[in-house]
């Protein structure tokens, strides 16, 4: 149904006695989380047990002694705090006000903390907080780059299912080039080229030959897996030392900032790809909405005909930006290999391109949102590792589902309907 009608321009005070129904959804969710924290995590922790939280890693300049936390009491306090927030949410609901995203975010964080306290209760293993955060970021790198690639492409009107292939091509090129050059930074120049080459094919088939973009993407993924695997088996495997032993990107410690307790090393003692991820996301967010490039790109993805009528070359814009997107994904792919001095392995991206796509949608086609989604996913992934070590009664397969379940929960519970660029997937024909 069309919603073209604008709100009345004058903001006449409404004096009728009809009111919007109160939305209890948030409140109910928070109450459930709060009660779960108190009854499940609080009373579920053995009485008198403690959880051991690590607040620094061995690398940190400032070593903080592990924190011993009385599990039951802490979880209950956290639960009460969540209930207080629920009450605040209820207050808002009754007054038909909406709180910002900080509310669900805060509830989420408190809930996760309560969960962590419970998981570590009475165990000799610790909950390594900074490591969890830092691994969350590291896992997020390829996802964030992939999501940026996806959103550059989709915002210009081309669906990019080939992120997976672009990541893989980037990982491959980075490993080989870094090994040959003996320098990981050189690889940062070549990984984007590899991703860009995959994008050239995507552009050729989807823009020039107007093949269904999803078919092209899926098939390109198969193509890249096939080619890289073939090259791996025939060339890399037998020449591992000369072709597939890439040096890693060193950690770059940012003076002073890296010494901030707990989060210092998480944010400011990482390799350059992590920094590039942050810079890239914030820059892209800015350029997309404030630069000529961004404006034209979005106009082509939203209403190509309108762009055409003001003299913007629609298909050329698409070509360029599809390739730019591919290059971004290729750069992200480098993180699979050179971020940690790891050699290329067959199919080593293992579906991350599709997760990146999901992060892009979850972030509503915004770089900032996509980054948040990528970090959420990465954190859940890191958490899974910790839980499997601490030992939970939950079978490992179910722990493995954690990031995926978290994503479904986020998209259904928090995000709801999202709007894709209007012209995405539609070839432009004059």
């Amino acid at each position: 149904m069309s919603t073209a009608t604008a709100l009345p321009t004058s903001s006449k005070a409404y004096e009728g006695n009809v009111q919007l129904p109160i939305s209890w959804r948030g409140t109910i969710t928070y109450v459930i989380i709060g009660l779960l924290s108190i009854l499940g995590f609080g009373l579920g922790s053995p009485a008198g047990s403690e959880s051991r939280f690590l607040l620094s890693t061995s690398r940190d300049a400032v070593q903080i002694a592990p924190l011993m936390i009385p599990a039951r009491m802490t979880a209950i306090i956290l639960g009460l705090a969540i209930l207080a927030l629920a009450a605040y949410a209820a207050h808002n609901a009754v007054n038909r006000r909406k709180a910002g995203v900080w509310l669900p975010a805060l509830v989420g964080i408190l809930g996760i903390l309560a969960f962590l306290v419970w998981s570590g209760a009475g165990k000799s293993e610790s909950v390594p907080i900074p490591l969890l955060l830092s691994q969350g970021l590291v896992f997020a790198v390829p996802l964030a780059f992939g999501a940026m690639a996806g959103l550059i492409n989709e915002r210009v009107g081309v669906i990019n299912i080939a992120i997976e292939g672009q990541l893989l091509a980037g990982a491959f090129a980075a490993a080989v080039v870094a090994t040959l050059a003996g320098n990981a930074y050189v690889a940062l120049l070549f990984a984007p080229i590899a991703g860009g080459l995959v994008a050239v094919l995507l552009a050729l088939f989807s823009i020039k030959y107007r093949v269904n973009q999803i078919v092209v993407g899926v098939v390109l993924n198969v193509l890249v897996v096939g080619i890289t695997s073939y090259l791996f088996s025939t060339v890399l495997k037998d020449n591992k030392a000369t072709l597939n032993t890439p040096p890693g990107l060193p950690r770059i410690e940012i003076p002073l900032l890296a010494d901030i307790p707990v989060i210092g090393s998480v944010l400011f003692n990482q390799n350059i790809l992590v920094y590039l991820m942050f810079i890239g996301v914030f820059l892209l967010q800015f350029l997309l909405f404030r630069s000529r490039w961004g404006l034209r790109l979005r106009s082509v993805g939203e209403h190509p005909k309108a762009a055409d009528t003001v003299g913007i070359k629609v298909n050329r814009t698409r070509w360029i930006n599809v390739i730019v997107g591919g290059a971004v994904a290729g750069l992200g792919g480098a993180s699979f290999t050179i971020a940690a001095a790891i050699g290329f392995g067959k199919d080593m991206t293992a579906g991350k391109g599709y997760i990146a796509l999901a992060a892009m949608i979850l972030g509503r086609w915004n770089p900032n949102g996509a980054l948040a989604a990528a970090i959420l996913f990465g954190f859940a992934e890191a958490l899974r590792g910790t839980l499997s070590i601490i030992g939970t009664p939950v079978p490992t397969h179910f722990l493995a589902m954690l990031p995926y379940l978290a994503t479904i929960f986020a998209v259904a519970g928090l995000v709801g309907k999202v709007r894709a660029p209007a012209a995405e997937g539609v070839p432009y024909v004059k």
Binding site: R210, V215, Y230, I361, A400, G425
Partner: protein, 410 residues
């Protein structure tokens, strides 16, 4: 995410007026034939095979060796190229269609039945996805739905003893229902919360994979006395009967797939429910204004699509394999996306595309073993075939085929 409306790009040749100047009757007929879709597909396959030939030759060790002295004795090189390519393709043909070298008559014709066997789950899953695409739902989740169908049908197949016929029926329905409900989760979340089905189905794929891995470690699934994640064999009472005797793996699941294709055709083209599905797919706003309950349709579509995809898993466990194990769903759910889109989401197109995929799959073992072409190259060949078939203009440009009359109107 929006899916290109399949109908919009469907070729609309039949009513193309013949106001073209006709040089001669035969010239016109030839031209028309060269411009037809079937011709383009044939040329697309030829083109892809030619491109892939380069890769096959390059991957061949004999070719690499002779290339070392190509200037000294080029004939060696060229005969090596010819040998590698011809043996790769003849073995692909022998593996997928007809094997003249086999020693029994049945063996000679076995390849084509293998092709159809491999096509069966793809037809099912492709039909499911096709229904979704035509209803405006971009369901990437066939993989998960196939897995669920495989898990539940296999479980019903080996965990219970039921009379012949009934057992098969129960197991099949169980699998279809499981696939449907799994997809129904995404349908429900979309209808109720507006959750994007692309994300949800991607996530459900992974979750289904983990769920199967988990179940395969439980006593209920594993064989007694074994720790391997391989289920017990499905009882014969729950297996699809073989279609052509014990020498062939082709089973009644294939016929059921064809019946399902007819059913889907009827549903989408002839039934009131399919009318609603298509209306929602093309224009949900207009559909809603016309009194169609759009959200409910999303749910129904997902249930149906998942049920069909689930049948893809069922045909694996109750037809082809007879057990549940890691990888039993292979890549069916993802291949089916391409199958459905290549087939323009129409049943006949889907059957055609599925048989193409089935042939490539059935031919690949022989291509690997008889001609030594690495499996990775086989995959690349498959990708090229699909790309070219999907890009008729490229094929026309390469082979300088005439453009059908309708197209230059655009």
């Amino acid at each position: 995410m929006s899916v290109e409306t399949p109908q919009a790009q469907a070729p609309q040749s039949p009513e193309s007026p013949v106001e073209q100047p006709q040089p001669s009757r035969w010239g016109g007929a030839l031209r028309e034939m060269m411009a037809s879709n079937a011709t383009v597909i044939v040329f697309a396959i030829v083109g892809a095979l030619l491109m892939a030939a380069v890769l096959i030759a390059a991957a061949n060790s004999e070719v690499q060796r002779t290339a070392g002295y190509i200037f000294a004795r080029p004939s060696d090189f060229f005969s090596a190229v010819w040998n590698s390519v011809s043996s790769a393709y003849s073995s692909l043909f022998r593996g997928a269609v007809y094997d003249p070298q086999a020693n029994t008559f049945a063996r000679q014709f076995k390849p084509i039945t293998e092709t159809l066997t491999a096509a069966t789950p793809l037809i099912f899953a492709g039909l499911g996805l096709g229904v979704g695409f035509r209803s405006g739902i971009f369901n990437i989740g066939a993989q998960g739905q196939v897995i669920l169908g495989a898990v539940v049908s296999a479980f019903f197949g080996f965990a219970f003893s039921l009379p012949l016929g009934l057992h098969l029926l129960v197991a099949v329905l169980g699998g279809a229902l499981a696939g449907g409900l799994w997809a129904g989760i995404a349908g429900f979340l979309k209808a109720r919360f507006g959750a994007n089905e692309v994300i949800v189905t991607i996530m459900l794929n992974s979750i289904a994979g983990f769920l199967m891995s988990y179940l395969l470690t439980t006593q209920a699934f594993m064989r007694p006395g074994s720790n391997n994640p391989v289920s017990q064999r499905v009882y014969d009472t729950a297996m699809f009967p073989s279609l052509m005797g014990d020498n062939f793996r082709l089973h009644w699941g294939f016929i059921l797939a064809l019946v399902a294709a007819y059913g889907v055709w009827w549903l989408m083209e002839r039934s009131t429910l399919g009318f609603k599905f298509r209306a929602v797919g093309f224009n949900p706003d207009a559909a809603r204004t016309a009194g169609i309950k759009v959200e409910r349709m999303y749910l129904y579509v997902m249930l149906l699509a998942g049920g069909l995809a689930g049948m893809g898993g069922v045909s694996q466990t109750l037809g082809t394999e007879g057990v549940l194990q890691e990888g039993v769903a292979g890549n069916i759910g993802f291949d089916a996306i391409t199958v459905a889109l290549l087939g323009r989401s129409k049943p006949v197109g889907i059957i055609g595309a599925a048989i193409l995929f089935g042939a490539l799959r059935a031919g690949s073992p022989l291509m690997q073993t008889a001609s030594g072409t690495p499996i990775d190259i086989v995959q690349v060949v498959q990708a090229l075939v699909v790309l070219l078939i999907a890009a008729p203009p490229l094929v026309r440009a390469i082979f300088r085929l005439p453009v059908p009359v309708k197209e230059n109107a655009a």
